[in-house]
Every structure is written in C-alpha cells, then in structure tokens.
Point group: C2
Chain length 416, copies 2
C-alpha cells in the first residue's frame, strides 16, 4: 500500500452511471495499491466521519458497480457555503481527512461539487496539509462548463429518445379514437439538454416529437396551443416534450404556475406536463395523456448509452491518475476531437473554470421557431446516446444490480 488513502464521494442527484465512475476509481486505485475510502452520503459522510472501507468489497462487487445505477455509497443534496461562511465545516472536513491520512480527495458531482473541491483544496494549502483535490464530472443535466458533455447525460438522453419514440408509436396507433396529444416531461431546470435529446427520436419530417419546449425560450401559451392544434390537424396527433424548467416571458416557472388544490383543499402536485395537458384539454378539447418519468429517466441503467458508460469510467480512471500525479484542483473533462467519426479524449481542466459555471444550450441548437432541434444539435447529441451496454440479467428477468456491504471505518474523532 502507498502512503495515504484516497477519499471518494458522490454528490448531488445520482445517475445511471455514477457508479461506473466509482468502479473505475476503485479499480484504478487498487491497481496502484492505493486504499480507497468512500464517504457515506457524499460530503456529509466526510463531515460525520462516516467513511466506508471499500477494501472490504470483492473485486467482483466493484466490477458490478459499473452496471449498477444509483449511488452505491449514498449521495447528498448539501451545498457548503463560502469558505468564510462555512469555515468550521471546511476545517472539520480537513480534520477528518487528516485523521484518516487522506492525501487524495475525489469529489464526483456537478458544478457545486467542483466548487466544494476547490475550496477544500485552498483550505488544505492554507493549513499546509498535503492534499490533492480532484473534481469528477457527473450530471444528467449536461450543464458543466469546459467538458464537452457530462457522464450521466448520455444515458438519460438515450432513455428520453427511446421512450419518446416508443410512446409515440403507441399514440400514433390509437389517435383515431383515443389520445391525440401526449406530453412528456423531461428533467432540466435551467437547460433543455434532455428535452433536446428527445429530438433524436424523430428521423423524418412529421415524426414525433412534434414540439419541444425549452427553458431557453419563453413559453407562450397561445402560440404553443396553436402549434399543437396545427400538428394534430396535419399529422393526426401531437407528441410534445417539455422541459421541467420552461418559464413564461416574465420568468415564472410554468411548473409553479399552478400551485393547485384538489376539491378537498389538499395540495395537488403537478408539474409542467400535467399543466400543459390540462391546457390542451381545456382549450383545444383533445384527449390528452402525459408522462412524468421523474427518477426513472436518471436511473435507467438498463438502457444506458455505451458511450456514456465508457466516458463515466474514463473520467474515473483519469481522476485517480491526476490525483496520484498531484494535479491539484483539476477535473478530467471530455474533449471531443471529431464529430464523424465521433472521437473523444480525457484532458485536465482547472476546477476554477468549472465551479459555479453553468452551460446552457448554444443558440444554434434550437430551431428558429423554438420548437425543435437543429442539425448542429443532432451532430452533438447523437454520438452521446450511441451504443448499448445492458447490465447482466438474472434468471428472474431482472438486472443483477449489486448492493455493497459498505463497512464503516472505525471513527477516530469526536463527533462534530
């Protein structure tokens, strides 16, 4: 064993392939004889000194992580504040790292996590503690700066395009006497990347999805309903994909517009698709159906993109290599070197270029009318959903996902 341990933690919303990154991290570190600890429930585990000893897991289990969705060590939705505001927490974090001889800290998450990794690194320098902090990219939102794409996005994008294509065949078959308008709600609060990916389901003019609503464009109800009506009259039915983050011109989230109560005064949870479907029904009178895939879209490892799985593993391998080389405050990012044939490589990028930035879709990815994607968007998106990488299935017809033992390290510090 090398001197020191490597601490890995998962942060923010999990994906179908974040465990593939974890698998690559642990396998790469093991090959280098470096012991890997994992923080339980992300940064919280580090603050609580709730650290998992991954050396207790078999190699088979670690390999199986590569095809298991969710977050094997637990993740969390906690954003540390600035160094000044949350200094006690950052110092506690450093105490825990020191107590367990952590020399390498890998934080697997989005732009908030990149920011946290950066701050931990600065504090370590300030205290003269030798620590290499590496951010490892992950998010289905695809909104990280610098990297060409984000591990997790490609699989959610593939789920979206496949699901929309399949549901559209259903709607097409029934439209004569049943549902004429179908609304699919895609995740993406600030950027329409997943909604855009649905556009890949359409191959020819008239194919579903017929209308996509992006957060990058203001939602205009009258214009939208007119479009729906036009499509139904031309095609016989209309498949709409709406990003959860669409807003009206005054900045109001459509998802929040309702704030409904049912007949008994109880909270009625809605969302964008339910709202749009309701408006289509009320104003146009068409029979509607709608879907809210919610977590299904980000956990659907069974329909993962092979490209995405490969990239998720590649950033894990590179993260360990960067760490062991002492490339502090860096993130391995995906660099696209060619569209056709699609080629990519991993390269280091400075965390301060990524932390707290947010990448929205380029304007030239949106069709002029705002309801669809352009050829440029297809060129970008298509390679990301390419290839299949199904998990192994058991005799029971279900994917063989692994549950780790997650044995905790003995605590060395008093509780925070």
């Amino acid at each position: 064993m090398a001197n020191g341990t490597l601490l890995y933690a998962q942060s923010g919303g999990v994906t179908a392939v974040i465990n593939a990154t974890a698998s690559a991290v642990i396998q790469t570190a093991r090959a280098r004889k470096v012991k890997v600890l994992a923080a339980r429930n992300g940064i919280l585990g580090a603050l609580r000194e709730d650290l998992i000893d991954t050396s207790k897991e078999s190699l088979a289990a670690i390999r199986a992580l590569a095809h298991t969705p969710g977050g094997a060590f637990g993740s969390c939705r906690v954003k540390l504040k600035s160094l000044e505001a949350d200094r006690a927490k950052y110092e506690r974090l450093l105490d825990v790292l020191r107590a367990h001889d952590v020399r390498w800290f890998l934080y697997n998450g989005g732009n908030d996590s990149a920011d946290t990794a950066l701050k931990v690194s600065r504090l370590a320098q300030e205290f003269g503690y030798p620590l290499t902090c590496i951010g490892v990219p992950k998010t289905i939102d695809n909104d990280l700066a610098v990297t060409d794409c984000c591990p997790g996005f490609g699989s959610a994008a593939k789920y979206t395009a496949v699901s929309v294509r399949e549901a559209a065949l259903d709607v097409a078959a029934m439209a004569d006497t049943s549902t004429k308008v179908f609304v699919y709600e895609a995740m993406g609060r600030h950027a329409g990347w997943l909604a855009a990916a649905a556009g890949l389901a359409a191959q020819h003019e008239g194919d579903a999805p017929h209308l996509i609503l992006f957060p990058e464009r203001a939602y205009d109800e009258a214009a939208f309903l007119a479009q729906v009506d036009k499509v139904v009259k031309r095609v016989g039915y209309c498949v709409v994909v709406a990003s959860e983050g669409i807003r009206t011109a005054d900045g109001t989230f459509v998802a929040d517009a309702g704030g409904g109560k049912d007949a008994f005064g109880h909270t009625q949870l809605g969302g964008v698709a339910s709202h749009l479907a309701g408006r289509v029904k009320d104003v146009l009178g068409y029979k509607v159906h709608w879907t809210l895939p919610d977590y299904l879209q980000r956990s659907a490892r069974h329909i993962a993109s092979k490209t995405d799985v490969e990239q998720a593993m590649a950033v894990g391998v590179a993260a360990v290599e960067y760490a062991l080389k002492g490339m502090n405050s860096m993130m391995p990012v995906i660099v696209r070197t060619s569209d056709a044939p699609y080629r990519w490589k991993i390269a280091p990028a400075s965390l301060d270029k990524i932390a707290n930035h947010e990448k929205t879709m380029p304007a030239n990815f949106l069709r002029k009318d705002g309801y669809g994607i352009t050829a440029a968007a297809r060129r970008y998106l298509e390679p990301l959903i390419r290839g299949e990488n199904p998990p192994p299935y058991g005799r029971d017809g279900l994917p063989r996902y692994i549950a780790l033992k997650n044995v905790a390290m003995r605590k060395k510090l008093a509780p925070m």
Copy 2:
C-alpha cells in the same frame, strides 16, 4: 393463393408485443399461401372498408414487426354494442368481409374484442356466410379469463419491476438529505396485476417497493400514511407502487378524488401518484417524488420480456392455424403446465368463456396486510418477465422500429 383472404385487426390499447402477434399471423398465413388484409385502426377500418394489403410489405418488414411496439395497422377504442343495438354495423362489417372474400377474421384484443368476434361469427352463421372468427389475446392488464396470462402483460410487468428497482436505488442514495418517499403509478383500472409485478423488484426484506396499493383492497388513507411513516423510520425511505385503480371503501376512485383546479382555475390533471405524494407531503411532511410512466410502460419494447414475446408470437401462429382449420369462435390461450421449470403451451378456448369476463388477482396473491405480494404471486409472475429480447439498435443508438407502408386496398363498396 388459397381461396379467400384473412382479415386481421388490432383492438384497444396497444402493447409492446401486439405487433409480434401480427408478425406471426402474417408470416404463418404467408407460409400457407393465404393473403392477409389488415383493418386500419381496428374494427373501424373494417367498417370503413379501409383495409391494408399486407402483401405489399417485404418479409423483412413483417419480421421487423416482431420487435416494434405500438400497433402497426392502428388500433381503436370502439366497443360495438349488442347485435340488436348495433345490428346495422355488424351487417356492414359482414358486407365488407364478403366484398373482400374474407373467410377468416382474427381480432387481436381484450375481452371486448372477444365479444365482438363472437357476435360477428354469430351474424355470419345467421346469414349463411362461411366465416371463421378467432379472438387473439392481448392486454397489458392481464385480465382475460381462461388464459393463464395475456400477451403484452409480461413486458409491461418487466418494465415495471425493472423501473421500480432502478428508481429505488436512486431514492436510497439520496434519502438522507432529499426525497424520502417515492410513488410509482402503475396502470390497471380494475385489477392490480402490474402493481403486483412491481413486487418482483424486491428480493429481500426491506427491499423496495415497500408498499403496494391494489385496486383489490379498499384504500384507507390513515392506514396508508401510518405505513409510509413506519417504513421511512425503519428503512430511511419508502417506495410506494400504486395501481391507478385504487378506490376508497365507498368505491370512489382515488384518482378522481381530486378533480383539482390550479390557482388560475384551470383544470389540473393529477392521478393516483400525484394525489398520494401530495398527502404524504401535507400530512407527514416528507420530501416526495412521484412518477407517472403512463404509455411508456406499455410501449417499452426495449425492455420486453422474452417469455412475453414468444407467447405473443405463439398465439399469432395458433390463431392462423385455428382459423384455417375452421375452429370458429375460438381463442388460442396460454396454458401453464408447470411453474418450475416454467412450461406453457397454446390451447383453444371458446370465445364465449372469455368475452366480457374479467380476471382479477386471486386473493392468495395479496399479502394479508394488503401492501404486498405473496410467494404464490411471485411463482406466477416471475416466469412472465423472464428473459430479454431487445430490439436491434441502429448506429444512432436508437431501436430500429419499422414503419410499414400500409397500402390500402381499393374500395369495393359505397361508404357506410
């Protein structure tokens, strides 16, 4: 070519594998040199004399139907009334069949369709027109009488079990600081078969789904919320699967209980999952998420059950064989001859035993407390989701689903 043509039509909600049945029907008939017409949009196409000449499709296209979801010729939600009430329509149907020399009529649907096939057969006999009517089973609801299971159900069941297992891993990873209760809404207005299939996702005590709500048991809000709270306190989170058809003791559908309006007085569409999630949030105060997969669950050919695909094709083959043998008013049904190893065969059943009957879940499939499935249910359900039969994928990362040409036959009659 044999004398006479065979007319095939799809009816009611489509499935991931109804086209596999169509593929088998057409391939089997072609092998016997029988010409197959398909009614466009189910029985409506027959009434409108809108018949598709399937001989215009290549063998490759017909084979590709076997892995394409939706309804390739269109389906419909139309229920003909009794012979007396709708006699003009039944006679028109007979006129169309006669005009196109249809000697064999295959109606692929649920119990309503079995009823229609039966009535057409009776009328043909009354008029002395030589016609063999065959019902071909199909429904994701799994509620047809006599047959052990229904083609379409196994694939929707597999989708349900896989999706619940995947989403549960997501929830488990985040529960410490985020969503604690997740609600999945399964189709099934009258019988809880699909909700029950979600139970297959659980392997061990404490596994998700923790609570299943069946239409076979009265929904009691207070008892349900108490259960949710107990599970959250014990496990840390709670995954609920609810059938869309659950009702309170007085018979009110929970899905209809709301009838909500948003803040602007607009219709707010909800459903069971949204309602339950709202109640959990309001009463227990836990962070909730919920999903309404809607059509995704019945069109997900990408995660079809191999058993289901094989059975869907087998009933198609048998339907043509029965037809050509003149086995009038019959349906090929699935007979289970052994649980372990799972063995099944196809046998003929009389349509009058199937028409208008509805099979609910046996009482011994429901756990005593009403919130889960028994070992007997698992023995029944598990073989139905066994095996994978993925569609071929293109270089673009999407399943290669086929769109037929659907060339119409020249009309011979005046419009109805």
